[in-house]
Amino acid sequence: MTPAPGRGLLSEADWRKPLTGTGWRAAHVLLFAILLLAGLGPLLWTLKAAVSSTADLLADPLALWPASPRWGNLADAWTSLEIRHYLLNTVVLVAGSWLVQAVVATTAGYALSVVRPWYGRYVYGAFLITLFVPGTVTLVALYLTVLDLPGLNVSIANTPLAVWLPAGAHAFNILLAKQFFDAIPRELFEAARVDGAGSWTVFRRIVLPMSTPILAVISLFAVMNAWKDFLWPLIAITDPQAQPIAVALPRLAQAAEPALLVAGLLIATVPPLLIFLIFQRYVVRGIAFTGLKG
């Protein structure tokens, strides 16, 4: 961690005052107690419960560790609850949503920021206006659209496309990409054009290599949001065999043995947790950077 630069709300003098300093130190100890209990506690409990027997779970939920750990629960959930299958579905949905969002954001951001056709401002406005319409209020119409794509007369419901393609209609990504590209010096593009580079070459050779930071932010949020998504996949993918784990779990919860269910919950949490722990610095920075997403 980086030490706090100079001072914050409290000054060095405040920290040295006996009453104030002690009070804040006590508050900080309490803070960590709460953070550990509320932040880590439920995850550790899940870990413990996932390797307990159902009998142990029901008899003594406060036990720190089961009398006889059952590591087999995880394997059982993996195979008999078919967590493996649903997890794979989730990975497919998340990967496709990410790819669609990355392609849409970079190409549209490039078109609006660098190519700048005369109608660009109107199209940009039309993208941004969708920010004012939360997805939940167009849910029913979106479902009917997916059932019968206008002009094509095909249904993509129950296919990954029903999740992948609507993910692209995310105006915030385009806003981020456009603002990022706007900050690239125009001389770069002019010079490339003088050298005879076309729009595609400028995009591929100049803009894409420079957009790693913004792509990282967009990708991280795209993956995390797609992993969390529940309502839309619940509606769009009704075929149990094609459902992602988030949709499958509440259905499994109705019949599964509690200990196995918790094992399933644990497995569903591990991938986003790993992504977060690996990229946590970018997540924290990304939230500060994008301000108020999600």
Partner: protein, 319 residues
């Protein structure tokens, strides 16, 4: 997804630039204009396809659907405002609206002050700031469905963690999710646990941006810590607090996963929310018209909240 992005006082959230070409140097020739128009179209194609099919079309279609009767079997019929009449005749509607408002009020009572207090405490940490940030964000990482199912286990009246802990001090057992009075507060506690970390990180980013000199000057003038919080910190954070308040209201009005997975609207309809009603109309009863009518009303309510908020705060949030 949120209408606030453009007003967010974050580094990247400045008002969207509406005028491309502002920085164009030489006046482009006519052929250049045509070339740009064509190249722009090619690059915009993926976005136009996605937005056309999955954003603009559903928005337009919602307005049409609200005035039609559709069940996917018979051809759609225009029914005027009949869907709205059906809706207002449904005795569940007032319950759902009140439940949603109750959920929102409870969420604000808990969910507004807690992240701010946590953020202030974390920002004053002189060591272990990074682990604190990770810990506070951990619940946000857990997929919502997993947290809801996990808390459903915690709330279990017989074998749940919460009653077990309360039992240690001789309280309970309480029927959390089985009690019409306690079910909604129980959902709010879970949702706050799951969501507070995001708000904390946003507040932390805003707290870092408060100029240290202001605290310095206030302290020199003899301001106590409480007065520095009240007269320096909070005014500096006002914009962020207001944006988060609006975001939270908008999010609460659309609450779905918690009541759907945890209680399915029960007990005795105590947790039926507006979105749950939309879902039931459309995907349980197949009445897409009435479901869309309610969606349109929800959209109007959300727009009113945003407009009201922007109007109220235009003067005093700009600082």
């Amino acid at each position: 997804m949120t209408p606030v992005v453009a007003t967010a006082p974050s580094p990247a959230g400045a008002a969207p630039e509406a005028a491309p070409g502002r920085r164009a140097g030489a006046r482009p020739g006519r052929s250049d204009r045509g070339r740009r128009a064509l190249a722009g179209l090619v690059f915009l194609l993926p976005a136009l396809a996605c937005f056309g099919y999955f954003a603009w079309w559903p928005i337009g279609r919602s307005v049409v659907l609200a005035l039609q009767q559709t069940n996917l079997v018979d051809p759609a019929r225009w029914v005027g405002l009949r869907n709205f009449e059906v809706l207002f005749a449904d005795p569940l509607l007032p319950t759902a609206v009140l439940n949603t408002l109750w959920y929102t009020v409870l969420s604000l009572l808990i969910g507004l002050p807690a992240p701010l207090v946590l953020a202030v405490l974390i920002s004053e940490l002189r060591r272990f700031g990074a682990p604190a940030r990770v810990l506070v964000y951990l619940p946000v990482i857990v997929p919502p469905v997993v947290s809801v199912l996990l808390w459903k286990i915690f709330y279990d009246p017989d074998s749940g963690l919460i009653n077990a802990v309360l039992g240690l001090v001789g309280l309970g057992p309480y029927p959390w999710l089985q009690s019409p009075a306690w079910a909604m507060p129980s959902l709010v506690v879970e949702a706050t646990w799951a969501g507070a970390g995001g708000a904390v990180l946003i507040y932390l980013a805003a707290l870092v941006a408060v100029p240290r000199e202001l605290y310095e000057a206030a302290e020199t003038d003899g301001a106590s810590i409480a007065r520095r919080v009240w007269h320096v910190m909070l005014p500096q954070l006002r914009g962020v607090i207001l944006v988060l308040l609006l975001l939270q209201i908008i999010g609460c009005l659309q609450v779905f996963t918690e009541p759907y997975v945890m209680t399915d609207g029960g007990p005795e309809n105590a947790t039926v929310t507006v979105l749950l009603m939309i879902y039931r109309y459309a995907f349980l009863f197949g009445d897409y018209g009435t479901a869309t009518a309610l969606s349109v009303l929800l959209a109007v309510a959300l727009a009113v909240v945003s407009a009201l908020y922007l109007r109220l705060t235009r003067g005093w949030s700009s600082r």
